[in-house]
Symmetry: C2
Subunit: 413 residues, 2 copies
């Protein structure tokens, strides 16, 4: 993959609260804010930071399943609802299951590279608490092949990753792996507690690891994962502006408040096929490899990463896909404390999907916002120290069971 | 809008049959081909013409409502199902209601402009005959704002355009307008009869205009439109390759078999608002104006156009939005025979949405395939003579009630 033909930056990140069970203000019995309210809050959040709608050339919105959760498509036409100044401007909605958010970022990146835009407003959004969890699981199963869903697990995706966990247990041992899951959960919640928009911000459990060691209850859920191994049902939106150097000037944002996109990798695997290898995320690995190569760096130069821990087992396998540990050794890497916020390689510093939340279409954008905050020193209580010799950030956003992948490498602006 | 920074072409168009009522082989009681079969047929159709999957850098798929019609999202992951050679390559799904197909084209165009790809495989697809028409109407209503749908017409979109027809009748007279609708229908069917993939290819009605003058049956459908004023429920897929000059060389396709993208216009209007003017497609008008200006031409230089006649009234208003007739005079322009295949300004020469069919997510791509065929002399029985001094083609693809718009201007390669 060749170098990007033009400099591309991201600025002005904004997250709504990731709303759902666990947040004090969440009450499923009251009417919740709708899809368009989340879109408006996030969009206005970024517009305010970039000098308003007049500075925007194009818009992109990522949403996975609004057509079922909210009976709503054609969401590009919500941009003028955010701000009348966006009337008449080009916009698009993109989708790639849980990798939707990063595909929206890629759309912005490509528009800037194409020089059709100097400033692209990118939003990711999902509002999922409109239906009960069981129906929600059926809706999210749309990320997998329809025909596969006629057999197998009721909770389709937890089932898919439970099978992966089972295979990992068998190949590499159950005890250590389960402990690594529990540690992953603890790191996620501890990070979330420091981030005011995180769904688990109010979590007060004392011994998180003990809790997360709970035995899976196979009959009522899935065989190898308990509820703490799973990201929750979340409503939320995140937004960011993808800009050129010209866009930085136009919006008056200094480079120190921006991150530069140095490289990216996108990859697809056949939706109709079983995983090539149950204990590895082979497509994730390919996307990360491409992203690092296109950025011209290696993984040890990365200061922090946001990875797609829809389930703890996905977190473990992502650590391996990043090249931080050999197959089967991701558990050790985690148990040694390396992925914790004070560890050698901090991952998901605002809580990730398990701690911050997983409003599916928003997640990829939220990852970019966290990297932006961390690399520019604006992460508030969540701030970690980025080593001077590792000034890079990396994200991995995954759609379906390792099917649609986007990895992006960033550098301090 | 500035000139495109790089030459962009389209080549190797392919259409499946537009399947549904009217086609002899259509039998809703038998199991129909699924979404993935349509995707595979269209994708392989284009791959065969461009030297195979090895020549493809990126993929884009347009689909509007597969998440409801087919319980299927994450469709980018069907590309490796088309051809194993597409495994690991970047792909994305895009959506903008019935403008979805053209947004998929725009995604390809921007990737070529961005130089992230020299060859992009673009597919549009929709398989809608999985549910009864009444449920289908509810699904397609997702192109409009959810909250609007709590009141008003059961058949939401026919209702929206029936209201527009009623307003047009009131402002400019009912009799002439209804005659123009009937002529539009006749032109559509006559064109479809010449195109083997058209849904109305087998239509044998003798006096099409007399039939189309039928009084609307308001109680069981809508007030101001009859069924011949409406595009039908269609299953189908179309595909095309968007390529650079380098891509032309790589695929070995001579320029004479390509069309060049000279300019485009994209525009959004607020989904939550009523139309600015019931008798005008103001957003369509803006998109066409931008497209023509960016191509540096005027409408009288265009040899043929593919416009979005989801309903006959949309056809009439599109003629006006193109600048071919003043407001209220589109009807005269049509009744004078100008838009017929032997007229001054042939429109929808393979039948358009009413004649060829309207597999929603595919329509925008089908429009490009028709322009490609006409401008390169490969339209078979549908071929019209393009005047030497008007070597341009134009498309207008509309999502929702004039909400999401894409217009593209092409020139013989």
């Amino acid at each position: 993959m060749k170098k990007l033909r033009r400099k591309v930056y991201m600025v002005a990140g904004y997250n709504t609260v990731s709303m759902g069970t666990g947040r004090k203000e969440f009450n499923p019995k009251k009417e919740c804010p709708g899809l368009e309210e989340y879109i408006k809050e996030a969009g206005q959040g970024t517009l305010k930071l970039i000098g308003g709608a007049k500075n925007v050339d194009e818009c992109a919105i990522g949403n996975f399943m609004g057509s079922r959760f909210n009976k709503q498509a054609n969401m590009a036409a919500f941009f003028p609802f955010i701000d009348e100044g966006l009337r008449g401007k080009p916009a698009i909605r993109v989708e790639g299951a849980c990798a939707t958010g990063a595909l929206a970022l890629m759309t912005g990146i490509k528009s800037v590279l194409a020089e059709t835009a100097e400033v692209v407003l990118v939003i990711g959004v999902e509002v999922q608490n409109t239906v009960k969890a069981m129906y929600g699981a059926d809706i999210l199963a749309g990320a997998g092949w329809f025909k596969d869903r006629k057999e197998g697990h009721a909770y389709f995706f937890p089932g898919q990753f439970s099978d992966r966990a089972g295979a990992y247990f068998e190949k590499y041992g159950r005890d250590k792996t389960r402990k690594a899951f529990a540690r992953w959960y603890r790191n996620a919640i501890e990070n979330a507690r420091l981030c005011p928009t995180a769904q688990e911000h109010h979590n007060t459990t004392k011994d998180l690891e003990a809790l997360a060691m709970m035995e899976p209850n196979g009959r009522s859920f899935v065989d190898h994962l308990n509820v703490f191994d799973c990201s929750k049902v979340s409503d939320g939106a995140s937004s960011i502006a993808v800009v050129s150097e010209e866009g930085l000037k136009r919006t008056g944002i200094p480079k120190e408040q921006a991150i530069e996109v140095l490289g990216f990798g996108q990859a697809e695997e056949d939706l109709t096929k079983k995983p090539v290898e149950q204990t590895e995320l082979t497509t994730s690995k390919l996307a990360v490899k491409t992203a690092l190569e296109s950025a011209g760096i290696i993984i040890s130069q990365v200061g922090t990463a946001e990875i797609h821990d829809c389930f703890t087992i996905a977190g473990v396998m992502a650590v391996e896909a990043l090249g931080l540990a050999d197959p089967g050794k991701g558990t050790d890497f985690i148990l040694e404390g390396n992925t914790a916020r004070d560890g050698k390689f901090p991952i998901n510093t605002t809580g990730g999907l398990i701690g911050w939340g997983h409003p599916t279409g928003a997640t990829g954008v939220h990852q970019a916002v966290t990297i932006l905050e961390q690399l520019t020193g604006k992460a508030g209580d969540s701030q970690i120290k980025i080593p001077a010799d590792r000034p890079y950030g990396l994200t991995v956003n995954m759609g379906g069971n390792d099917k649609t992948l986007v990895s992006i490498v960033y550098h301090r602006g």
